[in-house]
């Protein structure tokens, strides 16, 4: 069985002179991953508990979101008549009842046959699609998840691949919080697509059992946009770093925000390029010394929340990797938001950034919720989005639930099934002749 504690034994807890962290009155649920009273560290040390929902943590998904998740699940699972992604695509290949149909090329049958053999210990009952019993190791566990024979817990998202992050890295907390948010929202692993770029944190999809796409540096938002438009039933979550999102991917970031496509954009902001071993990033403070800024960074840093507000983002939040529970709540709210949602995560890099440490953030971070901030008030939101320095606001800074997501602004896009579900031969002879007629 895989180890569900992705970073067991790998964590050293940095000493905090403040002990109690910044959120004295924060809710603590000891059953939740990483949840320890007063903890400012992200990573949990114990195994994730499967059913940590006892605290009723986080608001229940609103009817719309819940419905979407459930409906998406059914449709994705799909009977051939309604939801088959490929099954309804080509009647010459896929026939009802599962026959492979005419295979135009040698080899197709062989590959198909190979798929039928339960080659990795699954105890499935063969071709009928019956539910295999769980317990046959990794495959059995996955089969059980696939058939949703178990209740959804963070176990469903557990990967057998251990993160390669440094002990104490803020990315552990982000990974855990994301899993917890997805479980809280009752989103199953096959219903989500986690898209990342390049960088330490962008390896996250490798460490979670969910659909994932680790793309190239700076481009995950564009790739995610294509995925979402092709299949709006998928919950698309983008996870990448400050260099990836605010630097090389800056143009995509600006346009994705004003586009308001329904994506969750988690930016692991450690104010440094870590995977290339310590160069200054778009969010590095002026004067920050690195190998590429030996005399101190000459530019003023990007304040992402300010740009996001100015560009028209409809959901702007900041989380702190040292506070995984609150971060999970913020992630859940961001995923629920219909439209683009930015979560700028303060993510300490314990190896290369000796300035912006857990303690540095903990001294400055405060919860806007506890101050009674109204995130729907644009004037107050603008103030919070501009705040940085001695006090750093954490929480949902701005939300506009009235803006239409991009998908609903395009005529015809939401009125039909996702393009990936419609048969390739939908045009038909009459359709082709109709299009040709315009050229006579």
């Amino acid at each position: 069985m895989p180890d569900h504690s992705d970073f067991r034994g790998a964590v050293k807890r940095p000493a905090s002179p403040h002990g109690g962290g910044w959120g004295r009155e924060q809710r603590v649920d000891p059953d939740l991953p990483g949840g320890r009273p007063g903890g400012t560290m992200a990573p949990a040390e114990g195994p994730e508990t499967g059913d940590g929902r006892s605290g009723g943590h986080g608001a229940a998904p609103p009817p719309g979101a819940g419905h979407t998740a459930a409906a998406g699940g059914e449709d994705l699972r799909g009977a051939p008549a309604t939801g088959s992604v490929a099954g309804g695509v080509d009647s010459r290949v896929a026939r009802p009842g599962g026959a492979t149909g005419r295979a135009p090329r040698d080899g197709t049958e062989r590959r198909t046959a190979a798929l039928r053999g339960g080659e990795a210990g699954g105890t499935g009952t063969g071709l009928g699609g019956a539910r295999p019993a769980a317990g046959g190791g990794e495959a059995g566990r996955r089969a059980a998840i696939a058939d949703r024979a178990e209740r959804l817990t963070v176990k469903a998202y557990a990967s057998d691949h251990r993160p390669t992050w440094c002990p104490g890295c803020g990315d552990f907390g982000i990974l855990n919080a994301l899993k917890k948010a997805l479980v809280d929202l009752e989103i199953w692993p096959h219903e989500v697509m986690i898209v990342s770029g390049i960088g330490c944190g962008s390896k996250l999809p490798d460490y979670i059992n969910a659909n994932g796409f680790m793309t190239i540096h700076g481009r995950p938002l564009a790739v995610a946009t294509g995925i979402k438009l092709a299949n709006p039933k998928l919950h698309v979550v983008v996870v990448h770093g400050d260099g990836d999102g605010y630097g090389i991917g800056g143009n995509h970031w600006l346009h994705t925000m004003r586009r308001n496509i329904d994506l969750t954009d988690i930016i692991e902001n450690n104010q440094i390029y870590a995977l290339t071993k310590g160069q200054y990033s778009p969010t590095s403070e002026r004067g920050f010394r690195t190998t590429t800024s030996p005399a101190g960074a000459p530019e003023d840093p990007v304040l992402p929340t300010r740009i996001a507000f100015a560009t028209g983002a409809t959901f702007i939040a900041r989380a702190f990797a040292g506070q995984p529970n609150q971060m999970a709540d913020i992630f859940a709210a961001a995923i629920r938001h219909k439209g683009y949602a930015l979560v700028d995560v303060l993510q300490p890099c314990v190896t290369f950034n000796k300035v912006n440490t857990y303690d540095w953030y903990a001294e400055r971070a405060y919860s806007v919720e506890e101050e009674g901030h109204d995130p729907t008030d644009p004037v107050a939101a603008w103030e919070k989005c501009n705040q940085w320095g001695d006090r750093i606001p954490i929480g949902i800074l701005w939300r506009n639930d009235q803006a239409l997501p991009f998908e609903e602004r395009i005529p015809g896009l939401t009125e039909r099934p996702p393009v990936v579900e419609r048969p390739l031969d939908e045009l038909g002879e009459d359709g082709l002749e109709r299009l040709k007629a315009a050229f006579f």
Partner: protein, 619 residues
């Protein structure tokens, strides 16, 4: 194999000479004895040259005549000389041709520029108010001046803007062409502007027709109304490709406007709601290709449309598609490079770039259809190949193919010929039966791993642009790297077997073979006909055309190369990129090359000017 010959006996230097317009021909073009005429409309940008030309082309095709039109314009919206050249004949056409028989000069400059490309007894239609037209000079060229009150007619029924309509009517009148065909096109083109505009234009076209008819006298170049012939589609390569794409099930296109790829994207956008296509104008080309790759991964048949500059920006993502094995189709309509180059003009300068673009090695497929007709099938094939081999497919068009209008037989694009190959994409019932872990990159004999569309609970997986293992997890292990690299590259071997070898045109027993690829097929084909008809006593030439460029169909090509006595590569570039590719892949050396890189498409006459000396004379 032919003996080695100087690679570039005519290269470059000869190409420069090709920029010059050939001497006026003698007679009515290559098809003397049969109908074969050319008409040029010239004027300033903003005078409606292109819309007039396209409308006239359509009107000519409606009577059953064959047409072939090229557009020549500059990268600006107002001012500067533009022209539109229409060739009309009673047999299928594959190229434009020189010289021209009727010139419509909407500006005086037009007449000066095109004077040297007029056939003897040609006519020049222009506004009688033009003050600097030297009618005597025209007559010295054996050209007939036809000054008419075009602007006056236009103003009488509306405004001077309709002068081009009056000129089209005049051209039809001069050539004794049934004005009803022009009227039918005008009714359709202006329908959206209301009855008054339609009526005004109809009055203008009729009056222009009558004025010219009365003045025509014994003008020799007339257009009969064949009547009763089947109507043909009139379209360019971009639209033919778009039709093929939607027939193939393409449901996603993302693009950033770039001439000459834009019209393909615009057609898809215009039909997106009707057909349920996602057509996204992206913030830049990098976003466009990444969106298409995202959509392709999600299971849509997805494409982009661009030109070389945009493709340059897409190169890193191209490698991503190759690495993560996501199908995507890239239409790259080449234009004159490098850099901004000649934005509205043609070139075949991106062949080797397309084959090699992006770091590292991965399988890709590169196609280059030769004609408008072939663009439809190339589109269907591109999507099937991309999905079957789970890899990017690049289709190289160029400005010439993307913009020239050609009459196409209606049954050329048939639904019954459209196949949808999803043999390597797993169906839902197949995934329902999957008991073990799903291996996205399963090592197989042909290198193709059955692909699950994300969203099925039994096939939850992550993919990575890092080297990865069969499951998709990042792995740098030696054994794994070798396995996955060999698996991916094996797809190229598998695909190579189904690539098409070159196609012959012309007599088998030829003394000289023109070798070309992509859109130069048409002009080369006409050059072959022209040469063999006119030079029957001498040697003969034929044509070997390549449309499948990568993986290069080596085995399919070698037997054909053995039939060649003397080879001349005809390319619209400076460095004979295809000749280099051919040598790299087969060891075959062409004997000579013809290169044109001035951005203007080749005419058959130009090709012959530079090939004739290469043809051995038969005893």
């Amino acid at each position: 194999m032919p003996a080695h010959h100087d690679q570039h006996p005519r290269n470059g230097r000869a190409g420069a000479a090709l920029a010059a317009t050939p001497e006026p021909g003698t007679g009515a073009g290559p098809g003397a004895g049969t109908l074969d005429l050319s008409i040029t409309i010239g004027g300033d940008a903003g005078q409606g040259v292109e819309s007039s030309g396209a409308g006239f082309t359509r009107a000519l095709a409606r009577s059953g005549l064959h047409v072939f039109s090229i557009t020549d314009y500059r990268s600006r919206i107002r001012g500067g000389h533009n022209f539109y050249q229409i060739r009309v004949a009673d047999r299928p056409l594959y190229s434009h041709a020189d010289p021209v028989h009727v010139l419509i000069g909407l500006t005086e400059e037009t007449i000066k520029i095109h004077l040297d490309n007029l056939a003897p007894r040609a006519a020049v239609i222009y506004d009688q108010e033009f003050r600097h037209v030297d009618a005597e000079a025209l007559r010295r060229h054996h050209v007939r001046p036809v000054p008419l009150p075009l602007a006056q007619v236009a103003k009488k029924h509306g405004s001077k803007v309709m002068m081009n309509t009056a000129a089209l009517g005049a051209a039809a009148g001069l050539m004794n062409y049934n004005v009803e065909y022009l009227e039918s096109v005008i009714k359709e083109n202006f329908a959206s502007k209301g009855d008054r505009v339609v009526e005004a234009n109809l009055k203008v076209v009729r009056e222009g027709w009558k004025l010219a008819r009365d003045a025509a006298g014994d003008f020799p170049y007339t257009l009969p109304d064949p009547g009763g012939r089947p109507r043909r589609m009139v379209l360019h390569g971009n639209h033919a490709f778009a039709l093929g794409a939607v027939a193939a099930g393409c449901r996603f296109i993302a693009a950033y406007p770039m001439t000459p790829g834009t019209s393909l994207f615009e057609w898809m956008v215009a039909h997106s709601q009707e057909l349920g296509i996602v057509a996204k104008h992206a913030e830049d080309e990098i976003a466009a290709i990444c969106m298409a790759i995202g959509a392709g991964h999600a299971g849509a048949r997805a494409m982009i449309s661009t030109s070389g500059g945009g493709f340059s920006l897409m190169v890193e993502a191209l490698g991503m598609a190759g690495m993560v094995e996501v199908p995507v189709v890239l239409v790259v309509s080449q234009r004159g490079g490098p850099s901004t180059g000649l934005p509205t003009r043609t070139e075949q300068g991106d062949l080797l770039f397309a084959i090699h673009a992006s770091q590292g090695e991965f399988p890709r497929i590169v196609l280059a259809p030769g004609t408008v007709d072939q663009c439809f099938e190339a589109a269907v094939r591109a999507f099937n190949l991309a999905e079957h081999y789970q890899t990017p497919v690049i289709v190289l068009l160029d400005q010439f193919l993307s913009t020239h209008l050609r009459a196409v037989e209606p049954d050329t694009f048939r639904w019954e010929d459209v196949r949808h190959d999803r043999a390597t994409t797993l169906t839902h019932p197949q995934l329902d039966r999957l008991d073990g872990p799903y291996l996205r990159y399963r090592d197989t004999d042909d290198g193709i791993s059955p692909r699950a569309i994300p969203g099925h609970p039994r096939a939850v997986y992550a993919i990575s642009t890092d080297e990865h293992d069969e499951e998709g997890h990042i792995s740098e292990e030696i054994r794994n790297r070798r396995q996955q690299m060999e698996k991916r590259m094996r797809k190229l071997d598998t695909a190579q077997a189904e690539m098409r070898g070159p196609a012959w045109y012309g007599p088998e027993d030829a003394d000289l073979t023109l070798i070309c690829w992509g859109s130069t097929y048409g002009p080369c084909r006409e050059a072959v006909d022209l040469f063999n008809r006119d030079k029957g006593e001498g040697g003969r030439i034929n044509l070997l055309h390549f449309s499948d460029l990568w993986p290069f169909p080596v085995e399919q090509t070698l037997p054909e190369l053995r039939k060649i006595r003397r080879a001349v590569a005809v390319e619209q570039n400076y460095t004979s990129q295809f000749a280099r590719l051919l040598r790299m892949m087969t060891g075959f050396e062409v004997h000579a090359t013809v290169n044109k890189f001035d951005g203007r498409p080749m005419s058959p006459q130009e090709i012959l000017t530079h090939v004739e000396g290469e043809v051995p004379v038969r005893a």
